[in-house]
């Protein structure tokens, strides 16, 4: 168990500063990511689970323009929060970080899933988000989970950490898969393997960046 815990914190350290003051605690244990990153990867995970449950993992149609704009607007609060807090214009806290982070992560999946399946020269039938009701449903699930983590403490540390880790791995793998598919590189049957390889390489690069380049700079 101790080894798994170390792996979680090691992967977290590759993509996150892990400052204790900015980290959410479940019980007495800090999560492997900071509050904002926890929100982002949790948002990715929730949207992914939603797409799997609704059978939208093979969706090829992007959301309609109004819903697309609304999804983009979901990402704005986190950006404003991050910029203003880093610029010392205003103070923020972990609750805001987590909520804005969750709403930042969710649209990434909704945009990224149909991108890989999108057909330029054909008709795309299956929408990843059908209507505003779908969007509200995902947003409501996000808020519910945030409330459960922050106030009720219902999910235990392992569930939240694993969900964040899955979200992180998924986003890198899916991005690699999308690029491979659009560029039509390699054998189509082995694209999943290639994208996992890209994920491993990305983590390797992040490791070098974090523990060699950044250490040298600092």
């Amino acid at each position: 168990m101790d080894i798994i815990l170390r792996i979680y914190f090691f992967i977290g350290s590759l993509v996150c500063h892990q400052i204790p003051e900015r980290t959410v605690y479940i019980g007495a244990m800090p999560l492997p990511f900071c509050a904002r990153d926890t929100g982002i990867y949790l948002g990715i995970f929730i949207a992914l689970i939603y797409c799997i449950c609704r059978g939208r993992l093979k969706a090829d149609k992007v959301p309609s323009t109004p819903i697309g704009i609304l999804l983009v607007l979901f990402t704005v609060p986190m950006m404003i929060d991050a910029v203003t807090s880093y610029a010392s214009i205003r103070q923020t806290n972990n609750i805001i970080r987590l909520i804005t982070g969750i709403f930042f992560g969710m649209p990434i999946v909704i945009f990224l899933i149909p991108t890989a399946n999108y057909k330029v020269y054909g008709s795309n039938k299956l929408k990843v988000i059908d209507s505003y009701i779908d969007l509200l449903l995902v947003a409501f699930i996000n808020i519910l989970i945030t409330f459960a983590i922050l106030k009720l403490g219902i999910p235990n540390w392992w569930i939240v950490s694993t969900a964040c880790l899955v979200g992180l791995v998924f986003i890198i793998t899916r991005l690699g898969y999308t690029v491979i598919k659009l560029l039509n590189i390699g054998n189509p049957k082995r694209r999943s393997i290639y994208s996992l390889l890209i994920t491993a390489i990305t983590f390797g690069v992040l490791y070098v960046l974090k523990y060699y380049v950044l250490e040298w700079i600092i």
């Binding site: 500063h17 892990q18 309609s64 704009i69 880093y86 020269y121 600092i218």
Partner: protein, 245 residues
């Protein structure tokens, strides 16, 4: 062209020895690329033989040369435009060559005087006459006739050209300047640029029937997401440096 040793052949127009890969004879300026691609053109254009009289004549290999005089056009608009360029070039080259073609027209590449209906009507008797004759076609004559076939493509362009692909090719809906502007915007302005890029990409990807916009929208969306991730990593690294961790 005839094969003449390894990597060499003979120009069917002037008889000089030239490279087998040459697209244009360095001595007389004759173009060979189209002549070579005629084999593939024949396969493609067989789909468009809607005229019964034409399909009947296609039984004979000898009559094929004459049938090709009324060959239908290639479906692709791009090929059609290339064809026009090619014909213009060939018109310039062959204006002064005496007429050896079957139609007996005043010039080999005179598209203005060419009548496709008349050519179709005359095709079958000519084919029968040709089959009846036991003489071999002189190589030179075949070579001189093939440009005529190409020239005949022009009046017989298929009338249905309204597929989305062709429309977008003929009239790109997005200018290159706009594409460059949007790509630059999404690449160089952190945060806001990517958001604008994603919104524009969604708008373009939702435009039905416009493949130019759809294709660019897809590329812009992927680009915006990747650049967004890269900017986020950069900000994270910057934050780590600032905080000294």
């Amino acid at each position: 062209m005839n094969n003449f040793g390894e990597g060499k052949t003979v120009c069917t127009f002037c008889g000089e020895e030239i490279s087998i890969d040459a697209k244009r004879c360095p001595y007389c300026g004759s173009i060979f690329s189209r002549e070579r691609s005629l084999n593939t053109d024949d396969v493609k254009t067989e789909r468009f033989y809607n005229d019964d009289s034409m399909t009947q004549n296609s039984n004979s290999n000898h009559s094929k040369g004459l049938i090709d005089n009324s060959i239908n056009a290639d479906m692709s608009a791009k090929d059609f435009i290339n064809e026009e360029k090619f014909n213009e070039e060939m018109n310039g080259l062959f204006d002064n060559i005496p007429d050896t073609s079957v139609g007996g027209k005043s010039g080999l590449f005179d598209a203005n005087t060419y009548n496709p209906v008349e050519e179709k009507i005359n095709a079958q008797p000519k084919a029968e006459e040709f089959i009846g004759s036991s003489t071999e076609i002189p190589q030179e004559r075949i070579s001189m006739q093939k440009p005529v076939m190409n020239n005949n493509i022009r009046p017989q362009r298929p009338p249905v050209r309204s597929t989305p692909d062709v429309r977008s090719y003929e009239k790109p809906s997005l200018s290159n300047a706009m594409k460059v502007f949007l790509t630059s915007l999404s690449n160089f302005i952190p945060g806001l640029g990517q958001l604008i890029g994603v919104i524009m990409a969604i708008v373009f990807m939702n435009s039905e029937g416009d493949t130019d916009k759809r294709s660019f929208g897809l590329a812009l969306l992927v680009n915006s997401i990747i650049v967004f991730v890269l900017w986020s990593i950069s900000c994270c690294v910057f934050g780590m440096i600032i905080s000294g961790r």
